[in-house]
Symmetry: C2
Subunit: 140 residues, 2 copies
């Protein structure tokens, strides 16, 4: 039980978990200020450069199709997204941002940047470059 772990590994794991909670809390705060859930914020970000089918959006978000159906309902009701037919497949529905949704998505990105800036600013430019490169490797 409870295998011994490399202390370097444990440090990275703890750092990643703590950083993730911090970043997610920050994103949730930005979302909450606009009365959005974190999932709705993610959805707007995803839709900035895509017009996915409901099932594709569900895959992006890691949710069931039925959950996304309700999610889209609420976003439509707020004028952020719209549904339209998918040309090729008569069963499918594509989701896209309205102009209002586009503006909100851009504004959210700015707000996130403003909130993350003080955190990232604690690193010098060299460290920022190094961190960016390491995260790219991690996500590869």
């Amino acid at each position: 039980m409870t295998p011994d772990r490399d202390p370097v590994f444990v440090d990275v794991m703890d750092g990643l978990v703590q950083t993730s909670f911090t970043v997610i809390a920050l994103l949730s705060r930005v979302a909450a200020e606009q009365d959005l859930s974190l999932t709705q914020l993610r959805t707007l970000a995803i839709l900035r450069d895509r017009e996915p089918k409901i099932s594709e959006l569900a895959a992006f978000l890691g949710l069931e199709r039925s959950s996304v159906s309700g999610l889209v309902d609420r976003a439509v009701k707020r004028g952020l997204v719209r549904r339209h037919a998918s040309g090729d497949d008569g069963r499918a529905v594509r989701v896209s941002l309205t102009p209002h949704g586009h503006r909100l998505a851009a504004s959210l990105t700015d707000q996130v940047a403003d909130l993350v800036a003080p955190m990232i600013g604690k690193l010098g430019t060299g460290d920022q470059r190094r961190l960016g490169a390491l995260l790219v490797k991690l996500l590869a």
Copy 2:
């Protein structure tokens, strides 16, 4: 509108956001396998080395006291935590892990480590050291 941002900054921000969603999804998966919410998993982790009052736990989690009251209710019902009087203040309630809760919390940590390992393993030991140090700076 949409101010120009330093491309290095943007890279770090994107990397942090993407990494955070990845890590949180992973934690949620571990939690879901035990029929726990992410918040319940966090709570167990917090209680591993603390016996906070309800209001302190609420502050840790960033939730209202009433939300935490229900959270603790559900955890008590599952035999993971217990409530007890706080000695000094007759109004206060302290929350602590049961032995079962302690075992589960330890097991969850192991499962998280197992799931994060492949990700961190993509970095060599030198890179792991560097990333650990950068995350510490970021969280300072």
